[in-house]
Symmetry: C2
Subunit: 221 residues, 2 copies
């Protein structure tokens, strides 16, 4: 038996994980999000997920969060970036950057890299497993008026690459290759694989090993 934590401020990640029926606590951790010199986008997103999970493990063990039943903590961290022409698009800083992102994504494909990490203590030492999901998304051509109308909805404000595939931007997407949940922010197949290895199998029957993390049917989506 373990206690599951999600070290992420993202409401989308919370929703995705809760949608699978897992019970967990949210940890608000801060890590230095600057990309290192020469660090590839893939290495960068993996490192961010790993650092968030390890910072979360620290917080969970240090009493920085409620520890139901005092069970050993298992902590998920995740990071998602949009990459186009080798450039990483983060969250937009202002209106101009939203419009610049949308213009850059219009009428072509881009990559979305999404990493999930799981940290737990093994034989006294913090251990972390990381999984990377590589995805490609195609946008239809967006007119300047459409880009401005989309910006004005407010949806792009806190999203990497200035769009939400699970929101209004779904209408712009002509094709996806990879994992939809990864593009939203948490690759669910990879996440459930990591959780199963940590003793929290997906769809495990209540009363089994994962009872602490698996709710009753009525609580499922």
């Amino acid at each position: 038996m373990v206690s599951l934590y999600l070290a992420s401020r993202s409401p989308r990640r919370r929703e995705l994980l809760a949608g699978l029926g897992y019970r967990f606590e949210v940890l608000d951790v801060a890590v230095d999000e600057r990309r290192a010199d020469g660090e590839t986008p893939a290495r960068y997103v993996e490192r961010m997920a790993r650092e968030k999970a390890l910072a979360g493990l620290d917080a969970a063990e240090g009493g920085g969060a409620a520890r139901p039943e005092g069970l050993p903590p298992v902590v998920l961290g995740a990071d998602t970036i949009v990459v186009v022409d080798g450039k990483v698009l983060g969250k937009p800083r202002d209106r101009a950057e939203v419009l610049a992102h949308l213009e850059r994504l219009s009428g072509r494909d881009h990559r979305v890299l999404s990493a999930v990490a799981l940290a737990a203590r093994a034989a006294g030492e913090p251990a972390v497993g990381v999984r990377l999901s590589r995805n490609r998304v195609w946008f239809r051509q967006l007119s300047p008026a459409e880009r401005e109308a989309y910006r004005a909805t407010g949806e792009p404000a806190d999203k990497a690459g200035s769009y939400a595939i699970q929101g209004l931007a779904a209408a712009f997407v002509t094709r996806l290759e990879g994992s939809w949940s990864a593009v939203v922010g948490l690759p669910l197949n990879e996440t459930t694989d990591l959780l199963a290895r940590a003793g929290l199998p997906f769809l495990a029957p209540p009363g089994g090993d994962a009872a602490g993390a698996w709710p009753a049917t009525a609580e499922r989506r």
Copy 2:
């Protein structure tokens, strides 16, 4: 100005269309869903979408539904099927069929065909446009215990192919090629394209031609 209708009983389609901000009424239409002899899966799913849209147009014009402001009706119909080894998997009839579907989908890819049709009256005659979305979905290997646990959640009951990609089955999907919304049940890029051609542009500003179908910001998701 037109009035938008969705001729579908599916709560997923309603949610997807409402998520884009469109205002519409739901029509409950019945069509003969039997596949014709020698009809390909693609022709079949296109015909189902077309027949639902036309039946919806009939119902909307015949006073079978509320007609806000008496505007001319524009009616969406849609259909989605799962195809594997040339066999169309529909909604499961019983528990045994759920398990048979899941066993068949386990550890391999399958196709999901999703069609959307838009019916309206043009120069006095019913006219309909249809768009087909072809998609491929890969499932990881599912053990007999996992298939039974997933069946027991109740989620497969009313879904073509006995799974919901937007639900717990997201954890089974290792890869998608195509459109996520199409696999859920309504290809949103194709839908907004049809709607734009019918005078209901996506993200059109309130007060414009699409004012009747485009809600105020506060009503958006």
